[in-house]
Symmetry: C2
Subunit: 316 residues, 2 copies
């Protein structure tokens, strides 16, 4: 496939086009990804998550700039609707973005997170695969951390960085319990604010009380003032150390298996839904919906009925 | 089915048991829901969404108390990991919760949002159906609004209430653009704080600049101090007015069709995945994953291979 070859050859227009294709989804996107899959598996995939306003984009930009100086190429995917990356840097973050723009060793892509119910996790995984195939050394995925998004990103990443801010208040305590389960690195950003040390202490206390991590890695708690570039080197180094740990401890394969199983489940679900829809005429679909609304047919029976027809590719 | 009948008879233990069943998912959950589906369609389903700390739980509790005084029964589902409902009211919200506890006309359920990748939307829809079948007049679904969660809840609700707080800052602007698309009611909570009027003005200005709403309903912008019960009646009344509007304008059927299509898609995806897994032995699944990790098989081809076997119920 020409598009796949152009992407592998480093053509950035081809990469952009491929990303648009996988954002839309469908059989063409799948055959592209299928063709490129053998070229993936080299990048260090890092998820960055945290509440709105925690400074995720600034930290991502600073990490990207750090790794560029170290001679590594960086791909960035923003699935955070509050991200300045996502909004085309309309939010006064232009200056920080400018340090990255114009550098062919950086590629930034935002994913639309509206109107694609359930499909964003799939599309994000596909985008990561494309950047990996396009030979970026590090792929950073920024996602807003509140609910399901952060769990999804942890399932798709090698290393998950969770960002907190000082004195985020009691409300955040509840999140933290869940976040400890997914964080490989904890960063207290905006550490020049009051209460930063206390937040660090709290996080360390929570970690010491939690069950020993299943993979044997205790997440370090680091501080940063991402806006001024402070603490960035330590975070980048810790992320690299985490990857080394995974590799040296033999845990890397386990993480890769989890990632693959997660991917395969998402692909199965999306493909199954797509094939069902391809076999059902719009009028038949509407008739089923009308029966469900009238409560003369339940959606579980409707699903059974539709799946009875089989989903083999040859039947399409 | 005994459990279904007990639930319909108003047995709260049966309801709790049924909710646990649908949270786990699987064929037993589906046959329960299938049996109860004809009894759904009566409740007013209201989604309440907003950023962490916006006061969603307090507002939900206040709305529930208001509707109870008006003689209506209220079911509450919290899918927000920061919700005191979800955390068993550990966060100092005990007093507000107590006004509801012990009242058989209120039922509160929190949904675990961890470890069930992609399944939370499905489980939430199922829980709504159970509360609807159990004859609750109003079903309130609290979800954290940041990214995909709020889109999911809007797709599952009749009326979506979006909560903002004064001066939430520039970061929130980006969210708002997306939120306008899903909000049927906008509430500026904590309206005794500085900047409340400005936030109301900003929201109204954004609404006036936005495209005219597709369904002809212009979301009102209301203020509240939920902690003190201020503004609650106006919000409850506006929610009821929205439902009346849907019914009188003939839009209700359209909203129900969207809800049914959303449900059916989720059920199709989950059922398809479950059937694939039921047909594949653990060792075969592991072998496929190992090939994907080794990049000798791509996950799209693996999915094709698995779907070739058909997904008919009879084959199980």
């Amino acid at each position: 496939m020409d598009l796949a070859q152009a992407l592998l050859d480093g053509n950035r227009r081809a990469l952009a086009q491929a990303l648009t294709l996988v954002e839309t989804g469908g059989p063409q996107a799948r055959s592209l990804l299928s063709a490129l899959f053998a070229q993936t598996g080299r990048a260090h995939i890092i998820g960055v998550t945290g509440a709105p306003g925690a400074g995720k984009s600034t930290l991502v930009a600073a990490l990207a700039a750090y790794w560029r100086r170290a001679g590594r190429t960086v791909g960035i995917i923003a699935v955070d609707p509050t991200s300045p990356f996502t909004r085309g840097a309309i939010l006064g973050d232009r200056i920080r973005m400018q340090t990255l723009s114009g550098d062919p060793g950086v590629f930034i892509r935002s994913m639309a997170s509206r109107g694609r119910l359930g499909g964003i996790a799939r599309a994000t995984g596909d985008a990561v695969a494309l950047l990996d195939a396009a030979n970026f050394d590090v792929v950073l995925v920024e996602t807003v951390g509140a609910g399901q998004g952060e769990v999804e990103i942890a399932a798709a990443a090698h290393t998950t960085i969770v960002i907190e801010t000082p004195g985020a208040g009691d409300d955040i305590q509840a999140i933290k319990a869940g976040i400890l389960e997914i964080a490989d690195l904890l960063v207290v950003n905006k550490a020049d604010r009051d209460g930063a040390e206390q937040t660090v202490r709290q996080l360390r206390a929570m970690l010491s009380l939690a069950d020993p991590p299943a993979d044997g890695w205790t997440p370090p708690v680091l501080t940063a003032v991402a806006m001024r570039g402070e603490g960035i080197e330590a975070i980048a180094t810790a992320a690299e150390r985490h990857l080394d740990y995974l590799r040296n401890s033999g845990r890397f394969t386990g993480r890769e298996q989890e990632r693959a199983a997660h991917e395969l489940r998402l692909i199965l679900q999306e493909t199954a839904l797509e094939r069902v829809r391809a076999r059902v005429s719009p009028s038949e679909w509407e008739a089923l919906i009308a029966q469900i609304v009238a409560r003369t047919l339940d959606p579980y029976a409707a699903a059974d009925h539709l799946l009875e027809r089989g989903l083999s590719h040859s039947g399409e």
